[in-house]
Subunit: 412 residues, 2 copies
């Protein structure tokens, strides 16, 4: 279960009330008209869970993901959070970047006979993904025709889909109305993570429940948060997500893409809108970023995320070291208590310094909570996008760089 005990301090004017209701209607319309597809994934992707099981890949020991951006960040996020509670989970290797050092060292970890390969690209022609896939095919001499260890996840009709058809490679399709950064609960995340040993039906159920709860008007805090972000975006131009567990690091990276690409847009009045997302990790980043939050420019809101029960009873031992007795007061307590108290104290210090903060608490690390967190952030993004009156689901700004790259490399 997620709880939201602290909210940003929003003053709801009648204008804002109207904007909030319009945003909610727009989101509902996006869902009902199926113009935007992610809302249906918690239900429709259950079939993907079954299809993943039907692959009968129990003998496989390594899941190799070849994908970038929306085709990797969500998978990494779920893998990182659920691994501590899923001891039997299989190794998942990620090929994201065109960095030759990383590609080489990750390839060295592959045991071809125990691995299966997921090539994931919505468009089917992502240059990093296709180049790395070819490198892997070459290095491991993968047989393509009727391959039993290669799977494609892509849009129906894409070049990658046609490639899979040509070689009789099993493919899973991403609905056309689901954008890359909203696709983690589609085949993109569900199939490889189910194969890796995670219970993806529970992740979907957690997402579905949160979605229902929102449309049953039981998560009005979400609408208030969106309104706060929208109403203050010029002054409070940065949202820092301060997560108190290393396992949430990749979730914050997924959030950065979701938030940054969806909301960083030129609006209908040719105005550059958006809020810059930053993900940091507590308690570590209390030692790097907190000073800036407290004393630096007042351009940030801070969202604290913590996990109440780590299911880990590691304690600070009750021993005294001569001369370093000052921190003995924590002796005998669990680290779980320490990190949660650090979160609480830091949040209090931030608020007392006059910085806006809100909080999300996961009662435990669980599949359902991961699903709920994903839908929470997706809904929030859609709501803020609706208030900005922008297209939340495209990314026109990245095209110019691609055009220049293709031109410079002689592919006019």
């Amino acid at each position: 279960m997620l709880s939201f005990n602290k909210e940003f301090s929003l003053e709801i004017t009648s204008d804002l009330q109207e904007i909030m209701q319009n945003a909610k209607s727009k989101v509902k319309e996006e869902m009902d008209s199926e113009r935007v597809g992610y809302y249906k994934l918690p239900k429709t992707s259950l079939v993907m869970v079954e299809e993943a099981k039907a692959l009968e890949l129990e003998h496989i020991k390594q899941i190799v993901i070849i994908g970038i951006g929306g085709s990797s960040l969500g998978i990494k996020a779920i893998d990182s959070i659920l691994r501590p509670i899923t001891p039997h989970a299989k190794e998942v290797l990620f090929f994201e970047n065109s960095d030759p050092i990383t590609i080489s060292s990750t390839m060295d970890k592959i045991n071809k006979d125990e691995a299966c390969f997921f090539i994931i690209s919505k468009s089917g022609s992502t240059i990093e993904t296709t180049s790395i896939f070819k490198t892997i095919v070459d290095r491991f001499e993968l047989e393509l025709d009727d391959a039993k260890n290669i799977f494609a996840i892509t849009d129906d009709g894409s070049s990658l889909s046609e490639f899979a058809n040509h070689h009789n490679i099993v493919q899973f399709n991403i609905p056309h109305n689901v954008g890359g950064r909203f696709s983690v609960l589609s085949a993109v995340g569900v199939v490889p993570l189910q194969v890796a040993g995670y219970d993806m039906a529970k992740v979907l159920a957690g997402g579905d429940d949160f979605l229902d709860s929102f449309f049953d008007d039981k998560e009005e805090h979400l609408l208030r948060k969106a309104a706060f972000v929208y109403a203050n975006f010029k002054k409070l131009s940065i949202n820092v997500v301060f997560s108190y567990s290393d396992c949430l690091d990749n979730l914050t990276k997924w959030y950065v893409q979701l938030w940054g690409e969806s909301l960083g847009k030129i609006d209908k009045n040719a105005q550059n809108v958006g809020v810059t997302p930053i993900g940091i990790i507590g308690a570590v980043d209390q030692h790097s970023f907190l000073q800036l939050i407290i004393e630096g420019p007042r351009d940030k809101t801070i969202t604290f995320i913590n996990i109440e029960d780590f299911s880990n009873n590691l304690k600070v031992p009750d021993i005294t070291l001569k001369h370093i007795e000052k921190t003995n007061f924590i002796n005998g307590q669990t680290f779980s208590v320490l990190i949660n108290e650090q979160c609480k104290a830091t949040m209090q210090s931030v608020i007392e310094s006059g910085v806006e903060a809100d909080s999300i608490t996961l009662d435990e690390i669980s599949e359902r909570n991961v699903g709920a967190m994903i839908i929470y952030y997706e809904l929030l993004t859609s709501l803020v996008g609706a208030m900005f009156d922008i297209n939340t689901y495209n990314q026109p700004g990245v095209e110019l760089g691609k055009t220049i790259l293709y031109k410079n490399l002689g592919n006019n």
Copy 2:
């Protein structure tokens, strides 16, 4: 060698010229008066290299670092960059966070008989560090008296220093005039990384050369960059460091602390100053953050960092996969060419979109370049701090959270 081919477009008024000269004088005064100590480290830390060698720890296979913030980020940064060119480097394990899951899983990797332990804390009483150290002492039943596998790195006279004296544990001291986030070229970074197998004398030499070059007036671009940041900090309140190699990820995290904690301050006019640092990695984050840079609010400057020669000849194989021929134009090229062309194209697209960008190119991955990068960012930070007329070297904003934590945990 570092090269700086693209700069921010600064218009130097006579006022700004004066501010630049004053900042340079102030930095020189900080150095000459020894009020600030990091400037001398490239020379004075050579003795630490020799002391590390004298430990004769060749038989050791694991270096365990127990430290947080300034006591870990710089070590991680150098370890990550130099590992690809240092095949014989020993494993380095980091204990930073009070997260029980990470502490448990990192402890599981330790082989006590092949490990040496560095406990690093400038003040000597960092709660995460002391608590984790006690946990490790307890779990591995470490003998403290005359320990040959435990080393302390701390300020002379700190509680940790006294602890080391009490048990006759070897200690290395951080000069009092060197702050934690400026300490990577002190014993903090030099001793454990030399023991790990890195050639720290070369890192120091690279830093020293860049420092000399700056004070010989050969790096005036640095002064211009500081002036640009200072003059535009209200409008361009975010600096994004976009590094095109995974191995630079931890360097950007070190930069975030350096920049954020040093410059995020309340100035003499009670104004909140500072620039928010963000580190992202290319080409990956072209798929997550670029849209926001290009179309979002115009509050960012972008610093592109790339590595010309990766010393890695991995190529995209010259093969054609049916239906995914679109990216064949990269066939036969190295990934090194691909990622550098991606950097170039993205920088061009950013500039054409009207966003301010500058660039730093490392000709290769080398010890000298790492040392130069560290001094580059430290000098830049000191210069901007001098222009803001703030205390660049303290962090008063983090005290409140500590006080609240101590109070809440019953240690009034």
